[in-house]
């Protein structure tokens, strides 16, 4: 029992210490906005590796998710004779929930893990230390551009995901199952609210982008600088990001749509 309490105490302390380090790290990262403003090239390079290289997985996943939504939505809606509502059903699910959440999960798997591994390896090979000794702040120089790139990419990727998903739903619903083309789009146009649905979806994806990129970069920076340490950190990035995304999603949904 005493041992259990001891373990509980020490793991709580470790977790809070880590949270503290992560917060300082975030503060330090945000000061890098100056570096990024002076040298936009750093940001552009990272937007490419964090954003553009995640493009393919987001597009393909979005297409399939939209197609499945079209199929499932049609099956349920046709029982009530309201297939024409398929458009709004697909669009609302994607824009409000699936777009931001699934994109963030995929982003954590593709870009987040890559960021952790990259920063962790730079630490393990003394590149970060070397930069410090060359009087260059590695957090501002290396971490900050990646952070802002992740934060900016996420909403764009989520928007792309939703857009491709809506087209996928259209392909299956209208193309294969015979839902009326005009009602698919008009229902969507009439019922989807710009602020309630789209802006809230964008806010969600920005929050997720912030959280995932922060977690990924911090885990890399805080990794034990060995091969094993980096691999563990990469795993932690994906697991912690998933928790953060789903937990934050509940909180944000409750605040935006839940009347809680």
């Amino acid at each position: 029992m005493l041992h259990f309490l001891q373990q509980l105490g020490s793991s709580t302390r470790t977790s809070f210490a880590k949270l503290g380090r992560a917060t300082f790290f975030l503060g330090h990262t945000l000061t890098g906005v100056v570096d990024v403003a002076i040298r936009p090239r750093l940001l552009l390079n990272q937007l490419h590796s964090v954003g553009v290289l995640t493009f393919l997985i987001i597009t393909i996943s979005g297409l399939f998710v939209g197609m499945v939504l079209g199929l499932q939505g049609y099956n349920i809606l046709s029982d009530f004779g309201s297939e024409e509502a398929l458009g709004i059903m697909v669009a609302a699910s994607l824009v409000r929930e699936l777009g931001p959440v699934v994109t963030a999960l995929l982003f954590a798997g593709r870009a987040g893990s890559a960021l952790t591994a990259e920063i962790g390896l730079m630490k393990a090979t003394e590149q970060l230390s070397g930069m410090e000794m060359m009087a260059v702040d590695p957090v501002n120089r290396i971490v900050s551009p990646r952070f802002f790139a992740g934060f900016l990419s996420m909403p764009l990727l989520a928007a792309l995901f939703s857009m491709v998903g809506i087209l996928g739903g259209h392909m299956v619903g209208v193309g294969l199952l015979g839902v009326d083309d005009g009602s698919y789009w008009s229902q969507m146009q009439v019922n989807l609210d710009f602020y309630d649905d789209i802006v809230n979806g964008v806010i969600k994806s920005m929050v997720f982008g912030f959280a995932v990129t922060w977690i990924a970069l911090f885990e890399g920076y805080d990794a034990v600088p060995t091969a094993e340490g980096v691999s563990r950190a990469t795993t932690r990035t994906v697991v912690n990001s998933a928790f953060a995304i789903l937990g934050l999603d509940f909180i944000l949904t409750a605040m935006m749509f839940g009347d809680i």
């Binding site: 730079m122 090979t125 003394e126 590149q127 230390s129 070397g130 930069m131 410090e132 000794m133 060359m134 009087a135 260059v136 702040d137 600088p225």
Partner: protein, 313 residues
């Protein structure tokens, strides 16, 4: 060690420095001076904190106690900006080279120049080619770091370290894992750069022969203390058994060949039990067959010896 002798020509003065990692004391109240314009070597077995000393000098780590003064500036009292200004005057060669892996050799050497100066690209090109010429790798400027051999990577890192014309260079294990040719070229480079550029060099190493060949002064560190110091000749003639063992690489001596363990025979007889169960008995292995044959008695272990070969990270 007399702590009052801060001589005028010392570039670095370390005074009463103590540093620990966890419960392990890496440095226990040590003081040393690094002479300006000379090559000073810090030697000692792996895990004695030689690299830690360089990181303390560079201000990357904070000591528990004591001070390090570099060129009149107390490293750990400096503000961040002042520390960065000091670091611009210090080149450091890391053991792995620490080249940035996503840019080529040319850009690696140009990196500090682009970060800290407002020179035009054509000026930077001239400087980079001069630095690369000095280490003999002007022809390798377009290679990526993963295309370089270990020795070449270290030479590129050396070119980068001298890019800003520093007042001193810290070498972290420059000879480790080098083939004889690249070892020879690095030994030659350290010596010639120090002379031609008027640098101060600090070499952290455990390669006795190479280091002794070029060092002007040597400190030997063991167990957080300075075990010996002097010119290479003085060190070689040292009366300390420990220094002798280290310099000559004898397998046994004050540092035991065997890691501290329970009695060998006892250990074998209870081999069906995991060693942890008999860990309460802390007696060193000492019943080597030859010892027994000579009728020598068991001696208690040196408990401090157990941490000697543990890595610091």
């Amino acid at each position: 060690m007399d702590n009052s002798d801060i001589s005028a020509d010392s570039l670095i003065s370390v005074r009463n420095l103590s540093f620990s990692r966890g419960n392990r004391k890496i440095f226990d109240n040590i003081s040393l001076d690094i002479a300006r314009g000379k090559i000073t070597a810090i030697m000692g077995p792996s895990g004695t904190g030689k690299t830690t000393l360089l990181k303390l000098i560079g201000g990357q780590l904070f000591p528990e106690q004591g001070s390090i003064v570099v060129d009149g500036l107390d490293v750990h009292q400096l503000r961040r900006k002042e520390l960065f200004n000091l670091r611009k005057r210090i080149g450091m060669l890391f053991q792995s080279g620490a080249l940035l892996t996503d840019i080529n050799v040319y850009d690696n050497v140009a990196f500090p120049l682009r970060e800290h100066t407002h020179l035009t690209e054509s000026m930077i090109r001239t400087l980079v080619l001069m630095k690369l010429q000095a280490v003999g790798l002007r022809g390798a400027r377009n290679l990526m770091p993963n295309e370089l051999s270990g020795g070449m990577a270290r030479r590129v890192a050396l070119a980068r370290a001298i890019a800003l014309d520093p007042m001193m260079i810290l070498y972290d294990e420059p000879f480790t894992g080098q083939d004889p040719i690249s070892m020879g070229s690095i030994v030659h480079l350290i010596k010639s750069l120090n002379t031609t550029l008027g640098l101060t060099s600090i070499i952290v190493s455990h390669d006795v022969a190479e280091t002794s060949a070029i060092a002007d002064y040597i400190y030997v560190i063991s167990d957080g203390k300075i075990a010996g110091q002097g010119t290479p000749k003085e060190i070689a003639a040292s009366e300390s058994a420990w220094v002798q063992q280290f310099m000559n690489g004898n397998p046994d001596g004050p540092v035991h060949f065997h890691y501290s363990a329970t009695d060998y025979i006892e250990d074998l007889l209870v081999s069906s039990h995991p060693p942890a169960r008999i860990a309460g008995k802390q007696e060193t292995f000492k019943t080597d067959e030859s010892l027994k044959a000579k009728g020598l008695k068991k001696t208690p272990s040196r408990k401090r010896g157990r941490s000697r070969y543990r890595r610091e990270d």
